[in-house]
Amino acid sequence: MADLKEAIEKIKEIPGNVRGDIIISNLLYIRSKKGDIGLNKVKEKVKELNFSQSLDKIRALEWYPESLSVSIILSAKEVFNWTEKDVFEMGNSSTKTSFIMKALMRYFISIDKVFEEASRYWDKYFDFGKLNILEKDKKNKRIVISVEGHNFHPDICIYQAGFMLKIAQLSIGQKEVEIKETKCFFKGDNCHEYLITWQ
């Protein structure tokens, strides 16, 4: 707990806001997995991390500190003793309940279209950082995406990978889509880089 509190305190210092929609999606996911009791535990944990914002009053389109969103993910991981895989699953599932994502999904008519618009989607969720399509190779069925300026916590890289994978799955139309973080800020790279491949 001491480590988490310490880490969060550092994270709080990083500027950047996120739409409440992401926070709501994460809370819904936690409730779907652990029920209201589990959710309350997470809420308690977040409170202990000195966030004054009530998690019951989050509004989907309002902006909130990204540190709050990150602290929810990390608290859940600690409370439920989740692995990285669980964090990945959380990111993957958040797209399913996200109001913004639902509104955007009408444009998920092809992989080209999705990734053409990818940077715009980023802006709808975050008021910091940047998402770029570095490579789009439909022939070899691979896409390389980079994320710059989103350096809060290594677990969030995993969460982001899960999130992006779901978008890829929905636009490619098959389950056999894989994502791999090929570069990471926390590993000394200047940005995060994800390779998406499919069958």
């Binding site: 509004r59 989907a60 389109l61 399913k96 309940t97 999904m105 009408r106 998920f108």
Partner: protein, 542 residues
């Protein structure tokens, strides 16, 4: 100024966020409250969103189902692909039936409807899919189909039965038609025979109503069938043409008797008019022991009657003409025998005696012939007198006793000791009957035989019998014994005398006294002849 613009922009953004949040709440409420299960599907047929009812119907939570292919929810995957391919090109909602596979693997028949979503440029963005549970209506439909199947099957069976019945009925009809034609032919034949029959025919039903007459009947009685058919015996009592006929028919036992038994046909003659005599014969008609009617055949015997009358007349005239010379011969022979014309030698006397006997037989024959003529002409008059039966019998017994003794035949007489009752008889005729019985017994009983004369008095009649131990009457000839000129074969062989008229005359005499006559006989053993007469009290006679 820039700060003011920034502030205004911020406020504007805030309002837009609030509007969007209102819109989001509205969409959320709609999604939760909408009772129809629906989902949004992207062009790749992946589920992007579901409402609450959808989750309840499928059993899948939103988290579990989003991102899955819509096909995974349904049983008919290949058919669904065809359906999905149609959606982008349709501007209207399209529907089909499918089988939803719930999370618990329970299958539910559903109706799915899809409506394509497009952007402002008309690009296909996916579709909305609604799901309606039609299990109840499906069950109803299945029940209905089952019922229809059952009904159809029952109907098919009934149709088959009907077809079989129809075939059977047609076969029966064919057979019936054939039988009807045959019956018609038979009927026509019978009718032709009846129509052309030389005798009149009158047919009665079981209730003795006339159902058929033939043209000959109409000609005989001068009536049309319309006047006769449908009427009973009593209906003709006032009909002058038919009253005698019906009176005669009503005597026939065939009209009263409903039992099927062998018996002689009823026969009776009636005169229709001065020139026509018919003989009526009736016979009861039976089918399977049940009487169905009576047939009367009317045979015209006018010619036979005329010939018979002519014969009788001839016999009568001849007999009368013969009797006068025979009387002359008789008295001449008597004078010769008595010696009035001089004495005769024994041989001469014997010859004359034989001539006398022959003449007597001739006279007797002539008398018989005259009696028969009288009977047939209805002139055999009945002269009744109320006398004791002893007065008739006693003299006769005394005459026959010595003659039978002379012939060596035992003669036994059994007469009640007390006075016999009085009877109303024509003494001369009854004497003739008793004589005839005793003569026959005497003639046909050989020497050493026996003749018994018995009289018994019963309740209302007196019975006389003459029994002999003579030659008897052959069985096959007994029926004709009371016929005119009949003589049994065995007595003809004996060459005994006799005209064959005696018993015929006897029968007519006894019948005219309302008595009965009969006999029992066995060839070579003897015969027993009987007659009975009713005892009539004097007060009744008066």
């Amino acid at each position: 100024m820039i700060d003011q613009e920034k502030e205004a922009l911020k406020k504007n953004n805030q309002r837009m966020r609030e509007d969007l949040e209102d819109l989001q709440r509205y969409v959320d409420e709609l999604t939760v409250l909408l009772p129809l299960p629906f989902c949004t599907v992207n062009p790749l047929n992946l589920i992007l969103g579901v409402n609450q009812t959808f989750q309840e119907m499928t059993g899948y939570k939103e988290m579990e189902v989003i991102g899955n292919s819509i096909d995974t929810l349904f049983f008919e995957k290949k058919d669904l692909e065809i359906f999905e391919k149609k959606i982008p090109s349709q501007k209207q909602r399209i529907s089909r039936e499918a089988t939803l596979i719930r999370k618990d693997q329970k299958k539910i028949p559903v109706d799915i409807s899809a409506l394509a979503r497009t952007d402002e440029k008309g690009n296909f963005l996916g579709y909305f899919l609604t799901i309606s549970d039609i299990s109840e209506s499906k069950k109803f439909q299945e029940k209905l189909e089952q019922k229809v199947k059952e009904k159809t099957k029952a109907l098919e069976l009934k149709t088959k039965d009907l077809a079989d019945s129809q075939t059977a009925v047609l076969n029966i009809l064919e057979d019936t038609e054939e039988s009807r034609k045959k019956a018609e032919e038979e009927k026509n034949k019978t009718m032709a025979i009846i129509t052309n029959f030389t005798d009149g025919i009158l047919v009665f039903d079981k209730d003795d109503q006339v159902i058929l007459v033939n043209p000959k009947f109409e000609r005989i009685f001068g009536v049309g069938f319309q006047e006769v058919v449908g009427k009973g015996l009593d209906d003709f009592k006032k009909n002058s043409h038919l009253s005698d006929l019906m009176a005669s028919l009503s005597k026939s036992p065939d009209f009263q008797n409903n039992n099927h038994e062998e018996k002689e046909s009823f026969r009776e003659e009636i005169r229709v008019d001065e020139a026509t005599t018919i003989e009526i014969t009736t016979v009861a008609i039976f089918r399977d022991q049940e009487k169905i009617g009576t047939l009367a055949v009317l045979h015209d015997v006018t010619r036979e009657k005329m010939v018979e009358a002519m014969k009788s007349e001839f016999v009568s005239i001849a007999a009368h003409q013969l009797r006068t010379p025979l009387s002359a011969i008789k008295w001449t022979l008597v004078m010769l025998i008595d010696g009035d014309l001089g004495s005769l030698s024994e041989d001469q006397k014997g010859l004359v005696q034989k001539a006398y006997d022959s003449n007597e037989r001739m006279v007797s024959l002539i008398n018989d012939l005259l009696n028969v003529s009288r009977i047939e002409e209805g002139r055999y008059l009945y002269k009744p007198s109320h006398i004791s039966f002893n007065e008739v019998i006693d003299p006769l017994i005394e005459v026959y006793k010595p003659e039978l003794k002379r012939r060596g035949v035992n003669f036994e007489v059994k007469i009640p000791k007390k006075q016999l009752p009085k009877v109303v008889v024509d003494t001369e005729k009854i004497t003739l009957v008793v004589q005839n019985f005793l003569d026959n017994a005497m003639k046909y009983t050989p020497k050493g035989g026996k003749v018994s004369f018995l009289i018994s008095v019963k309740d209302k009649e007196i019975e006389v019998s003459v029994k002999d131990t003579g030659v008897g009457i052959p069985q096959d000839q007994q029926k004709r014994l009371f016929s005119k000129f009949f003589r049994a074969a065995n007595v003809i062989r004996m060459e005994t005398e006799g005209s064959g008229l005696g018993l015929f005359i006897c029968k007519n005499i006894i019948n005219s006294h309302k008595g009965k006559i009969w006999f029992q006989s066995k060839e070579n053993e003897g015969s027993n002849f009987f007659f009975s007469l009713p005892i009539i009290e004097a007060r009744k006679l008066k």
